[in-house]
Symmetry: C2
Subunit: 419 residues, 2 copies
């Protein structure tokens, strides 16, 4: 029996989420006896509510394969968390109506912890309402905070970008430090988990030693201890790089970025933690500083993506389809690490009820005793994830990213749906 | 006659300044009959004052060639502008003492407009005091603001980084824009000249259209006009990227970044113009935004350097030595463009008195009439400068940058010198 598949991208996008989409679409195209069209939600799950379904079968193979080297979410994404079936039956009923109208028997949801929860609910709905659909979650999050998988696609590439950028900027500040800038502060993503910040520490290794302090959201910020450590590093090396997670909080649990800063008119200013830490260094130690906030640059930097990450993102998309073809539902394909050096991995799977709404932060034994760096155990974990380069093609000096036409299939339901 | 050469890196460093150093050192090594050692100032010209001279001849060829792919200033840099001979004879006398003690007959100074001025003064000094030294300036500045050269090494690589990053982040915000972030603001360097900001506009072209507003330091910021343009772009495309130069000023000539922002304790906060513009958008239009400040990341991003830029940086270092061997002084080798498409260039030279303290900003006919983008003329100028990739070698997932040992030659003067 042939049924169509629905695919949606969820939450913040990454440099490699499209590689998972390609894994799904290419694998599905190899099984025309089982899977008809892969219909992608325009702007994620919202596309399902609105019955805005992108016909990926109308895209030529060259565009699909080009998505493998294209960052962002090619079909659009959204941040939308479904409530429980009891609280919002209307939304679930609508999804079933749309799925039934388009003969969708496979639901592939590509996202983080929240979307794993949505995917789980779709699977439960399928059982409760007797509508047959197999719901498979495909992991994706730069935050790397999903449990039961070695890592999450998107993270390895951000980690490579942050480690590379930290090394490069540290070389820069070292050049200037004798008479000018002594401290460089880089703000990175990771509101709850410090995985990305941890990657900054990789910039320093036995062949290229760099003084780096990492500020983790897992470790309450102690201004006095930080300043002692910063001064000590500057006195020893002449300069210092600080990699600070956006989610660092003070000892009272308040975000460091939330300093109540107002402009001349009294308007609240939404700043970052990077300038806050830099200003503190200036106030307490008097060092000249520079700061950067990588923001979207870090998660969209396909030009410096990790080959390991790309390979795994594709493999997980492919595995999701294979799991579906094997009859599975309510599961997520995972990366299982079988060896650190050389890095070896295989595909596994985990039940969604063990994934949804769980958060894997950086374990204490991955963070050095003083709270300012990573341990060898953490380094062994992280290094394979940034291994390998996978440059996109360039044309006239710029990466040649593709855009699918995103043609919608005709609507079959007369009704509109307000979200 | 064989005499030694002095080389120093000056001002803010770049992804390719070391490539110029390699051009000088390798070319000098090919003329042992004329040039003895190349002695590099430790931390720039300060190394000359302190008689801290790095013996580059003690570095193996592999390290020197490795510098070609290493960002930052390998010998250290500084921001130090010599006063006129009348105002500060003491400093000039010291330089001559140090040069004489080490038999230095060639002075290669690698920097921007200020260092061209210093180089010019050294040449004048040579004539006035009868100490024979040939002073050659090697252009370097990410600001691209030196006259009489097609462009300045360091700029092409920053331009490639900013164009690439703007394209990548724009793909990201486009994915999220339906229900979340609609405007992305990227703050870039360029306090007086908008060349780097202009490069952001390259992210959009005929095959990959992206709504981008560029805010130039050359165009006074008009908040109302900017908001009208921003709203119009968001309504047409659904999203918008803004590339803003750190040097943008309001109509009264005040830096936009200088908003008199204070923290909860009344301390002045040194923020960037990126968050200022983002906050204005939020206040005036209500759009959800993200902002990034690239800071040092942009000028140290050797991993995405322009091959054109690297080639020219090396060629200019080589040409500086060749000019010296031809007996020239008080000159700077330049890039002369002979064709746009295909891009062809050759080495020329310019007298330093025509370079020093001049500033080439973006001409009005390179900026679109509305002041928010670039013209075709500007695009034709910029595109060749970002052409070509020249990836550094990677090891274990990270770029493999080299560090010279920077061994100093023994001091020959007993005297210390306070700066």
């Amino acid at each position: 029996m042939t049924r169509n598949a629905f695919y949606a991208q969820s939450g913040g996008v990454t440099a490699v989420i499209n590689a998972s989409a390609v894994g799904i679409i290419e694998t599905a195209r190899g099984h025309p006896d089982r899977i008809g069209k892969v219909l992608a939600g325009k702007n994620g799950i919202i596309g399902a509510f609105k019955e805005e379904l992108i016909d990926t079968s109308s895209e030529p193979e060259s565009v699909i394969s080009g998505l493998r080297h294209t960052p962002s979410g090619a079909f659009g994404s959204c941040r939308y968390k479904l409530k429980s079936l009891e609280e919002n039956q209307r939304e679930y009923t609508r999804l079933i109506d749309v799925f039934a109208a388009h003969d969708i028997g496979y639901f592939f949801y590509n996202g983080g912890g929240d979307s794993a929860d949505t995917c789980l609910k779709i699977a439960q709905l399928s059982r409760d309402l007797g509508y047959p659909i197999q719901a498979i979650h495909v992991p994706k999050t730069v935050d790397n905070d999903l449990p039961h998988t070695d890592n999450c696609p998107g993270f390895g590439s951000v980690a490579k970008y942050i480690a590379t950028s930290t090394r490069e900027a540290s070389f820069d500040v070292a050049s200037m430090s004798s008479s000018s800038t002594k401290v460089f502060v880089l703000e990175v993503m990771g509101r709850h988990a410090g995985w990305i910040a941890a990657a900054g520490a990789l910039a320093s290794d036995e062949t290229t030693e760099i003084p780096i302090i990492v500020l983790f959201p897992e470790i309450p910020f102690d201004r006095a201890r930080f300043m002692t450590e910063a001064r000590s590093k500057v006195e020893q090396y002449g300069y210092l790089s600080v990699v600070v997670s956006e989610g660092v909080r003070d000892q009272a649990g308040k975000f460091l970025s939330d300093q109540g800063v107002v402009d001349a008119f009294g308007h609240a200013q939404l700043g970052g933690v990077g300038p806050v830490v830099a200003n503190m260094i200036k106030q307490d130690l008097g060092y000249k500083y520079h700061w950067a906030v990588a923001d979207y640059l870090q998660r969209s930097a396909r030009h410096i993506a990790s080959k390991t990450d790309i390979d795994q993102a594709y493999a997980l998309g492919k595995a999701a389809v294979e799991l579906a073809l094997d009859g599975a539902s309510s599961v997520m394909p995972t990366i299982v690490r079988t060896s650190d050096t050389p890095y070896r991995w295989k595909i596994g799977s985990a039940e969604l009820d063990k994934i949804a709404n769980m958060e894997k932060t950086v374990p204490r034994d991955f963070i050095s005793e003083d709270g300012f760096s990573i341990t060898d155990k953490c380094r062994s974990y992280l290094l394979p994830l940034i291994e390998g380069e996978d440059y996109p093609p360039f044309s006239r000096g710029l990466p040649d990213y593709v855009r699918p036409r995103n043609q919608l299939v005709p609507k079959r339901l007369g009704s509109e749906f307000a979200i």
